[in-house]
């Protein structure tokens, strides 16, 4: 069966002055599937996610989204194309409460005024749906645990319908239970047809979740495997082999 790719990149490069963060990265994300990107620190994974979300401008190459080709994206443009992002630093405003953070930039209003009640109600429903437990939604998010904050960042990405979700280490600060429920959320989203690109260090998690995996190293894609045709040990071997070849 012919695969349908909703997002792909061709020869994407990015340099920060003399540092080459991406060197001709070409990836493809299949519609309604989870694509994982793994690799060591500094391999360019987060840079790639930031370029796809419009937060960074690439130095070269192209991005194709739903049959449209772009040399770069802005954040509003990416959002209009249905791209939602959970950044590694979560991008939360510590002084605002959970509801205000979820709806940041997309607030409900009653005339010129913010509709706090509606935002609180909808935030509660959304967080219940994805099983993130925050007892007091009016509490500033600086008082929340790492897992709750991560759950909040995921909830923000989900609250208005996008069709591509980019996740940079979505479960890094979560405990076992929170991480498990976050994984279930991502599986449910796949069932609903949402395309996801996920960055993770946890290979076991990646294998239990992703359909396709790209391995990155020093700004390059060094391997591309289907999860069905591979295993954790095989992937570890690829990463280690790359390291050895560098040594």
């Amino acid at each position: 069966m012919k695969k349908s790719y909703i997002l792909s990149t061709t020869d994407l490069t990015k340099s920060f002055r003399h540092v080459q963060a991406l060197r001709g990265v070409s990836i493809q994300a299949e519609q309604g599937r989870i694509t994982a990107i793994v690799g060591d620190n500094g391999s360019g994974k987060s840079t790639l996610i930031k370029i796809l979300s419009g937060d960074l401008k690439p130095s070269g190459g192209q991005i194709q989204i739903a049959n449209q080709t772009f040399s770069s994206l802005t954040i509003p443009q990416a959002m209009n194309l249905g791209i939602r992002t959970v950044y590694q630093d979560l991008s939360l405003d510590n002084y605002k409460n959970s509801a205000e953070n979820i709806f940041l930039g997309q607030e409900y209003r009653k005339g010129p005024f913010l509709d706090q009640k509606r935002m609180l109600d909808e935030a509660k429903t959304l967080l219940d749906e994805i099983k993130v437990h925050i007892p007091d939604l009016s509490e500033p998010v600086r008082n929340l645990s790492g897992g709750q904050r991560q759950g909040l960042a995921i909830a923000r990405a989900l609250h208005n319908s996008g069709n591509i979700l980019l996740l940079d280490e979505p479960t890094a600060a979560m405990g076992i239970q929170e991480s498990h429920s976050a994984m279930n959320i991502l599986r449910t989203l796949r069932e609903r047809g949402m395309t996801q690109i996920i960055i993770s260090h946890n290979l076991h998690q990646v294998f239990s979740l992703a359909d396709h995996i790209y391995v990155m190293r020093f700004g390059e894609v060094v391997a591309s495997v289907d999860t069905m045709d591979s295993s954790v040990s095989q992937l570890q071997e690829i990463i280690l082999r790359q390291e050895e070849s560098r040594v």
Binding site: S53, D55, I75, P76, M79, T85, Y87, D89, S91, L92, D93, N94, Y95, K96, E100, N101, L104, G105, Q106, E107, R109, P112, F113, L114, R142, N143
Partner: protein, 316 residues
């Protein structure tokens, strides 16, 4: 309830200090509780309140504006020039306000697009704007304005001095704008986490520039009030007014790091500083000591604010 009370701890503390000072002054002096003195305090602090409210918006957005005093002067001089050209008074006032808005826009744009610290940018523009006042006037005040204009500064508005009325109206208008509308919410996020705002697709420059424009307009309002009250537009008007405003904002519990702001705390802090100044004056304390005391208060306020901010960051 307890949480709400804890949130207002700084304004409550300031209120208690105000009360203690009032008790002290009413025991020590006979003239403190006279109507004339109360009106004096309100009048003298009306323009300080207008500037402090604007500064609270700027500081809560994680920035600062050191050019406020200079904008007071430049906008007053542009308005005075228009008055001298015998343009209609509303047009002259509009010219003053427009000048304030434009100078604010220059500040906001320079800060946003250069990404240089607002402290440095507004320090530089404060010298530029003050220089502009001196260049235009040659250092000589512009005086003798039409009676109709002068009554704008000295006349009654709703039974109160117009400056006082304006300060109250402006403060009341800022409440919904800052706490219940998108503009104020984004301003606070610019202080809390500007990257978060940018990543939600919000055009941050609009909010940065508009906040400085509003600060400029408020400085122009003060320039207009002072010019009308003194019947003179002076190139040295507004000197160091930004320091009083910053002092009140910090004392009122707004963090210098931005992210949140206390309008109530700012209002009470302006009143408290006015009380201290007034108390020192009616007790015949030298104005030099007043400067010293104001500086001391600012130092204590900054130290207390920093300790609270560090504690709150450690709690995270």
């Amino acid at each position: 309830m307890k949480k709400k009370l804890l949130k207002q701890i700084t304004p409550l503390m300031l209120l208690v200090i105000c009360f203690l000072i009032m008790v002290f002054l009413s025991i020590k002096t006979h003239s403190f509780f006279s109507l004339k003195n109360v009106v004096n305090i309100l009048e003298a602090n009306s323009y300080r309140l207008i500037l402090a409210v604007g500064m609270m918006l700027i500081i809560s957005s994680g920035a600062i504006d050191l050019s406020v005093g200079s904008i007071v002067s430049v906008s007053a001089i542009f308005m005075a020039k228009a008055l001298k050209a015998e343009l209609p008074i509303p047009v002259c006032i509009f010219a003053g306000l427009l000048t304030g808005a434009m100078l604010g826009a220059i500040n906001g744009s320079a800060i946003h697009y250069s990404r240089i610290n607002p402290f440095i940018i507004t320090l530089a523009t404060s010298y530029m704007y003050r220089g502009l006042s001196l260049i235009i006037t040659g250092g000589i005040p512009i005086t003798k304005f039409p009676r109709a204009f002068r009554s704008f500064g000295c006349g009654d508005l709703f039974g109160m001095e117009s400056g006082v009325t304006m300060a109250v109206v402006i403060t009341l208008l800022i409440v919904p704008l800052f706490y219940y509308m998108r503009w104020g919410s984004y301003l606070r996020t610019m202080g809390g986490n500007p990257k978060a705002l940018h990543r939600t697709g919000v055009t941050v420059s609009v909010y940065r520039i508009s906040s400085y424009m509003l600060m400029g307009i408020l400085a122009a309002v003060v320039g207009i009030i002072i010019t009308a009250r003194l019947n003179s537009a002076e190139p040295n008007a507004g000197m160091n007014m930004e320091m009083d405003a910053i002092c009140a904002v910090i004392m009122g519990g707004t963090s210098l790091h931005g992210g949140d702001g206390s309008l109530l705390g700012t209002v009470i802090a302006v009143f408290l500083m006015g009380l201290i100044r007034n108390g020192l004056t009616i007790m015949n304390v030298s104005p030099y000591y007043q400067q010293f005391v104001t500086g001391g208060i600012l130092l204590i306020a900054v130290v207390v604010a920093e300790i609270r901010s560090r504690r709150s960051r450690m709690d995270c």
